[in-house]
Symmetry: C2
Amino acid sequence: MKTLLALFVVFYTLPSLAQRLVSPEIHHDHSVTFRLKAPNAKKVELQCEGIKETGMKMDRDTVWSVTTGVMQPDIYSYTFIVDGLPIIDPNNSLIKYNLLNTVSQLHIPGPNSLPWEINDVPHGQVHTVYYKSAVIGDNRHFMVYTPPNYDPLAKPGYPVLYLLHGFSDNDDAWTSVGCANIILDNLIARGQAKPMIVVMPLGYGNWKIITNGWKGIRNPEITLDSYNKFRESLFTEVIPQVEKAFNATHDAKSRAIAGLSMGGAQSLYFGLNAPDKFNWIGAFSSGEIRNIDERFPNINASLNSKIKLLWIACGQQDGLLANNQKLVQWLKSKGIRYNWIETPGYHSFMVWRPYLAEFLPLLFQE
Amino acid sequence: MKTLLALFVVFYTLPSLAQRLVSPEIHHDHSVTFRLKAPNAKKVELQCEGIKETGMKMDRDTVWSVTTGVMQPDIYSYTFIVDGLPIIDPNNSLIKYNLLNTVSQLHIPGPNSLPWEINDVPHGQVHTVYYKSAVIGDNRHFMVYTPPNYDPLAKPGYPVLYLLHGFSDNDDAWTSVGCANIILDNLIARGQAKPMIVVMPLGYGNWKIITNGWKGIRNPEITLDSYNKFRESLFTEVIPQVEKAFNATHDAKSRAIAGLSMGGAQSLYFGLNAPDKFNWIGAFSSGEIRNIDERFPNINASLNSKIKLLWIACGQQDGLLANNQKLVQWLKSKGIRYNWIETPGYHSFMVWRPYLAEFLPLLFQE
């Protein structure tokens, strides 16, 4: 393979040609050492969820490192900041892909009881379905989880959860970062969730919301247009395809919609305005819904007879907490029944994985 | 969303908070401008397939940039080298994920006739199948393409291509980088390839081949052990699962095995030693097979009556060319029939996408 190696050197300067660094290294006590070889850097910092240490020090081999205190089992995201420039850890293949800000991830393994740990249980499959969206005008795909031992002919069909990602996520975020398929496998194996289909569509109806970066979602017109076009695509393109290609039941009482952040706002906006489509709604750390009275012109207590679950949760250290508190007060003023959950935590998948694990067992129970 | 924004600032220094840069920017004449904001860098270079320009210059806003000459329609990979450190382009969400060296990609769109361009044709699906490998001792998955209008009950079943990735690739490389599903969709729509199932397993039987970095595959013992364990897992775990879960025909004449680089070497090693399993073999820019006489103890001209296609190709600028030429000479000396194709090109998906498009129409034709 020497020749192969020689060729790659022409194209890429590989740090891995030198002794490969171990980063992150998880020690027995669950402290962690992060390392980066950066001979020409003047300053290297670590930014990691849940970690206060940020300064890294360079040794004689020009390897920068920092060792944390003991970390709880979880999946954390982090970046290195090299002279002000955020980069992924080149020695770690576990990344959190994102349309605006791809970062690295650190998985501190924990007991099998943690919902996101892979267990020796039957596994479902994840399918990528490709289609041309006439509504949005692009080629795209959505992802579909089918449960273990999925039977395409079983009667009645499976209930379906439409599970929406956050702003700047791709449609694989709920599986590759949120571990939704693993969480489902575990809950179904324990008899704690009903076997269900989970559909994860791409939540952008207007690409300006992404191409403008964070200015996209701060722009009310672009955001509303993106939500509306995504809703139209979901209702007229995605749901019909799902119900044709998969063994899904076709009524509101076996359809749920839930999401995180932007996807939480979308779930509320789509779901509360379409109780004949979705009887189960979840909003995790929901983004702000502007002009709320305008967005929900028909909301009143008569919804309570249709909506079987309206589950709203937010982390106490999340900058969106006040917004979510305001939202539930508004729902209360309209006479709408809801479950409101506050938990410790930030705006992070470290909160959303547990939320999903708590939400799923409530679905489709009657 | 202001509060959401504020929170993220705590965790990540987002370059996108400033005016979002456009990078890469494809101009009308297919020249391309690459940009990176790096205020503290002393030197920033571009390393892009097919591009000689490497030096980038900083403007008053501390944005480094370079504009290339006219580029041919294709999908190129590239990185920025910032003071010696290779990084992905933070303003470009199109990445080439890799276990050792994730880089960015640039897609210069071309005519619909290019095999990797998405066309308005029926699309197949890609399925991720999760399982525990008892042979290798980990939890992993393989990916499966099913063709447009796949019928799980059609008789006879579909032929199956086992398509293997290269060293340091993940099992999604053939779809996410190699565009295998798009290429299949296009060829099937044109009647140029038979509708088939394509299985893309993870090609590591011993993780030391990856955790040791490039030293892994340069180590003959680790490499052979990894190939052998992967073969055992493929034969006893993957193929049985595929033939149970998908509508696949179960005989050698409707099974093919092919791969690129390490996957090419594996396809030859597995395929030529198991003509009762695979009658169709492809090796694209194959990696070296050490101790070749030992690896193929039973090879002789009687294989010609079993193997329907042995298709070997390599780029003329690939460092592995001499090795592949030696391989075909050795096959000739053993009286084995093969197709040998030399094309312009390096060790790159820019070669392997066309190879796949050339190889697929030859499969399962009788």
